[in-house]
């Protein structure tokens, strides 16, 4: 057994730093197989995938850009429309204010004119009434005076009692006629 161990330790193949031909050959075969596998199959597939992925990402970025541009355009349009609407509103408000002023002054003038007219009418009516009252008063006072005078003449004016009664009667008559006239 000792012989065998010695033989093994002294054997040519026992130095781990001296490569055996088969070791080199199979290592080289393994290396070449792995190299071709990665070179021809795996890495091209990986490259294709990475290209597709970056294309997809670029496509998405492109899409996002387009969407952003559209959104910006829409915003601009809305802003413009809003500004237009605002100026329109301002214009309308201005117009309304002017209209209101105009209508107000018109109404004022109209009212003033109406008031003038009403006042003038009233003055005319009052004058007419005064004239009518004057005319009727004059005639009535005349007849009353005549009645009174005739009454006075009919009774004795020397008698105080009689004169007082006469006046009282006259006034009562006047009152009566007045109430009758009212009714």
């Amino acid at each position: 057994m000792l012989q065998a161990v010695l033989a093994a330790t002294e054997g040519e193949t026992s130095n781990p730093l001296i490569p055996a031909p088969y070791d080199i050959i199979w290592s080289a075969v393994c290396f070449v197989v792995i190299l071709f596998f990665f070179w021809r199959l795996v890495l091209p597939r990986m490259k294709k995938l990475l290209d597709e992925r970056s294309a997809a990402i670029e496509g998405n970025i492109e899409k996002a850009d387009v969407a952003q541009r559209e959104a910006e355009a829409a915003l601009e349009q809305y802003t413009a429309q809003l500004a237009e609407a605002r100026s329109e509103a301002a214009k309308i408000r201005e117009q309304a204010r002017a209209d209101a002023q105009r209508i107000g002054s018109e109404i004022n003038a109209q009212a003033q004119a109406d008031a003038e007219r009403v006042k003038a009418n009233a003055q005319v009516a009052i004058e007419a009434d005064r004239q009518a009252a004057l005319v009727s008063l004059r005639s009535e006072v005349g007849s009353l005076a005549i009645d009174l005078a005739s009454g006075v003449v009919g009774e004795s004016l020397s008698d105080d009692a009689k004169a007082t009664a006469l006046v009282d009667r006259f006034l009562a008559d006047l009152e009566a006629s007045d109430t009758a006239g009212k009714k």
Binding site: S14, I24, W26, M46
Partner: protein
């Protein structure tokens, strides 16, 4: 793996990495366990990335996301970060291949029933390092035809007499040590990681079933260490894949950036 039939404790030896041939013994196409594991790792890469990139969608599913994350790590964090978009794309197949080849072949070290990294014999690290070596020389020659070796060996701005010292150092560090360090860093990480795991689990086996009794307590300790180092090996597997791919990229970057 290193446990024996005759009851004694057998620690792991370097023979771990020279398993018996299974197919084509004695020919240059001899296949042993480690070569089969290597081929299994290649098949795993092809299966996962073929399925993951078969029907790629712009909005990825769960599996596609994971595969994309892995590919993006090599593409963005290594290639484009150091080389920029244009040169990054040129060398991406190489960088991706190195990263995933190292990663998948490292990770077999902690997968049950495989239990050995496919990078723990010198063949694979050496092939990858030689590829990296050719890659950065190619990158330099393509970018600065004629001036690349002159700039690399006779750095501008150095006083002429100093070239006696500088040139051999530059030659050694750039064209000799780079592939050697790439190879050995990966190889030794995987070899030592495997030996550590074998040591812990072989000791656990020995303490539990051969020594028994009181010694089983030690077995608990070694088992716990074995578990922790298994987790650590996952970290090392990812880290070494990253380091290998990153250094390859850095060498390419330096070759491209060499001054006129």
């Amino acid at each position: 793996m290193a446990t024996s039939d005759d009851g004694g404790f057998h620690g792991p030896s370097i023979e771990e990495f020279f398993p018996d041939a299974i197919f084509f013994a004695g020919t240059p196409f001899e296949m042993n366990r480690i070569v089969l594991i290597r081929i299994l790792a290649v098949l795993a890469i092809i299966l996962i990335f073929w399925l993951g990139t078969r029907r790629m969608k712009i909005v990825p599913g769960r599996f596609q996301s994971v595969v994309e994350m892995g590919l993006d790590f090599a593409r963005v964090n290594i290639a484009e970060d150091l080389l920029g978009k244009k040169d990054g794309r040129r060398f991406l197949p190489l960088i991706t291949t190195i990263f995933f080849a190292v990663l998948f072949m490292n990770i077999t070290g902690i997968i049950p029933f495989l239990n050995i990294s496919a990078n723990s014999t010198i063949g694979m690290p050496l092939v990858l390092a030689v590829v990296a070596w050719f890659a950065f020389i190619y990158a330099g020659l393509k970018k600065h035809p004629g001036a690349f070796f002159k700039n690399a060996l006779f750095p501008p701005g150095v006083p002429k007499p100093l070239y006696i010292i500088v040139t051999p150092i530059e030659f050694l560090s750039t064209f000799i040590l780079r592939p050697i360090t790439l190879t050995l860093r990966l190889l030794m990480n995987m070899v030592v990681g495997h030996l550590l795991l074998v040591l812990f689990f072989a000791a656990t086996q020995f303490f539990f079933f051969t020594a028994g009794g009181f010694y089983a307590l030690f077995g608990v300790g070694t088992l716990a260490f074995g578990f922790v180092f298994t987790l650590f090996e996952i970290l090392v597997a990812v880290l070494q894949a990253y380091v290998f791919a990153l250094l390859t990229t850095v060498y390419i970057q330096l070759a491209l950036a060499e001054e006129h």
